[in-house]
């Protein structure tokens, strides 16, 4: 199994301030799936995505990524997974605003054993692929929302990870740009990557071939699982 969660629970806070964000969630995801996660605010979608992306660890339960128990890993090992196995696309883009497009896209490669030339070639390849090569020296703060999300996607692509996690990737975009972004995610899925998208939008969810509905930290519906 590619991604496997067994009875994963996540509790924030302690004692009377404790909030259960996820409750006994079990989930199995195969390589190359395109999944949308839906649910009302506070249902635990982002917490689930954070755990899958190794940005957070479960309070209870087991999370296995490619057979490896991630819950046992330390911060350095988790950061290695975030670098080599998982990429993220966020609603607010998560780009370093005072840096250039090139510098932002290059970020995941800085942790890898690559020469400056190799990094430059790879970054330029994906910038070209996404049609934003001409923006490479521009500061992120000078870009439009659509352009920023393309940069975020280029950064996810350059990492060449097998999992791409997108948390409401079209939330800050107009319809046209939203469709373009989803088209790119679909393209990445066709290239064999596992895409997991959080969305409130049924139309965006329809790009996926499996839909998971969360409510009160529990999976209420898992539709289209092969």
């Amino acid at each position: 199994m590619f991604i496997e969660l067994q009875n994963v629970t996540k509790i924030y806070g302690k004692d009377e301030y404790a909030t259960k964000a996820l409750s006994q969630v079990s989930l199995q995801i195969e390589r190359g799936e395109f999944i949308s996660i839906m649910g009302p605010s506070g249902s635990g979608k982002s917490t689930l995505l954070n755990i899958i992306g190794c940005m957070d660890v479960p309070t209870e339960g087991v999370y296995r990524l490619e057979g490896e128990d991630v819950t046992r890993l330390n911060d350095r090992q988790l950061s290695d997974i975030r670098n080599k196995k998982v990429s993220f696309i966020f609603q607010q883009f998560a780009l370093m605003t005072n840096f250039t497009v090139f510098e932002n896209v290059e970020l995941p490669l800085l942790k890898r054993n690559m020469s400056k030339k190799e990094r430059r070639e790879k970054v330029e390849y994906y910038l070209n692929k996404l049609g934003i090569f001409h923006l490479r020296q521009k500061n992120i703060s000078k870009l439009s929302g659509g352009q920023k999300q393309r940069v975020a996607i280029a950064r996810a692509m350059v990492a060449e990870t097998n999992i791409v996690l997108a948390d409401e990737p079209t939330g800050s975009l107009d319809r046209q740009n939203g469709e373009k972004v989803m088209g790119l995610l679909q393209q990445m899925n066709e290239e064999g990557k596992c895409i997991i998208v959080i969305t409130h939008d049924e139309k965006i969810a329809s790009y996926a071939n499996r839909m998971i509905y969360l409510s009160d930290g529990c999976i209420q519906l898992d539709k289209g699982r092969g």
Binding site: Y12, N50, M55, D56, S79, R82, A94, N98, L110, A159
Partner: protein, 432 residues
Amino acid sequence: MKYMLLNLKSMWQRKWIIVLMIVQLIVSFWVINHALITIETIRYQQKQLFSVTHMKEETTIRLFIPDGDDSQWFVERFRKLEKFIKTIPNVKGYGSFEETTISPQNFANKTRYMRKNEQLYANTRMESYTDSTKIIYFDYDIYRLFSKFQLMKGRELSKEDFEKTNKDVIPILIGYDYHDVFHIGDRFQALAGLGENAFFVTYEVVGILEQGAKWLSANDYLIDHANELDRFFVAPYFPEERDGRPMDVAVRLNNLFLQLSDKRDFSSVEKTIEQKGKELGIYPTLKTISNEMKEYENNTKQSARFTFMVGLFFVVVTLIGVISVTISSIQARKYDIGVMMVTGASKRDIGRIVVMELFLLVMTSAIIGVVLSYWTEWQDTFFEYNIRLQAFTWSLYVKIMVVSCFIVLLSSFIPLWNVNKLALRNLVEGRE
């Protein structure tokens, strides 16, 4: 390292805060450097004394006569005391040295000599005295027991050379820089005495000093930079120069030394000399070189310690500033840190960036602080040499490096703890 380049850009974006932090650190380093330079200078001075002379810590004794002056009354008594000292069995040697200036005359190479001095004295306080050369006069015992300088040509001064009369030809050793002006056997004359009593003394070159020869400053043998003898003459005292006028005797009071055979003789010799002085109505005191050095070291170290404490106070104030600026910079860059962590940076990587940033700030400040200290010491150079400039050696740099590392260590502790507390899930999208 690759993250560091990104961080350099981020630092550039925060340049004014960083400049202010650096200025604060530079002031602290400047004060600390001042104290360290003082301590280093003491070491240099002690090392210099033994590298330039054969003086011995415990058996070379300095003779002080605090109430000595240039009155005829004192001079007569002092001469009696000197004669007496030379008769004490445990005193292996006694004498003094003096530094003055002479103007050689009546010799063939005078034009060349003047031209040489023009070169040697250019941009120094001697530049308007191109007809003169500094000379050190020695008593035989001081020359015999303490001098370390070697000759490149000619002969050493002998006992007979120190027994010449005013009318005799006085043998002289010349500094290396004059080796192409004077030759062995050359003679010149120079005035001795004052006013109507002045007369010409004839000198004959008997040796040329090896390059780099050194001897102590007659102004303060312990504290001042040693004289480099390349542009000096060295000669034995002759009667007029040594005792001609009461003033000549008073000048010698600065540098009176005794050499004992054994350090155990010190108290008996001290008692004998003090007793004789009392009989004569003058009050000599004796100190071993070692004691004099310790006294000087203690006095100087006390003031250095005070300066060091002031420096430490500055450092503490600066540390508080550096820590709070670093923490607020981490808080302000939380989003960027989150982005880096999302793309694979670990907390250790972020911590490394914080430490490297602090290291860079502190080291830049330390280097500028050292340059500033050198510049201020150099500005303070009233004489040809400022001995404090000699403190700028690896030993000082290593100490500053240690202080810098200490500052980095102290200032990174709280920010690192802060980094460790960061929760990635809160950084990028600000949820929970």
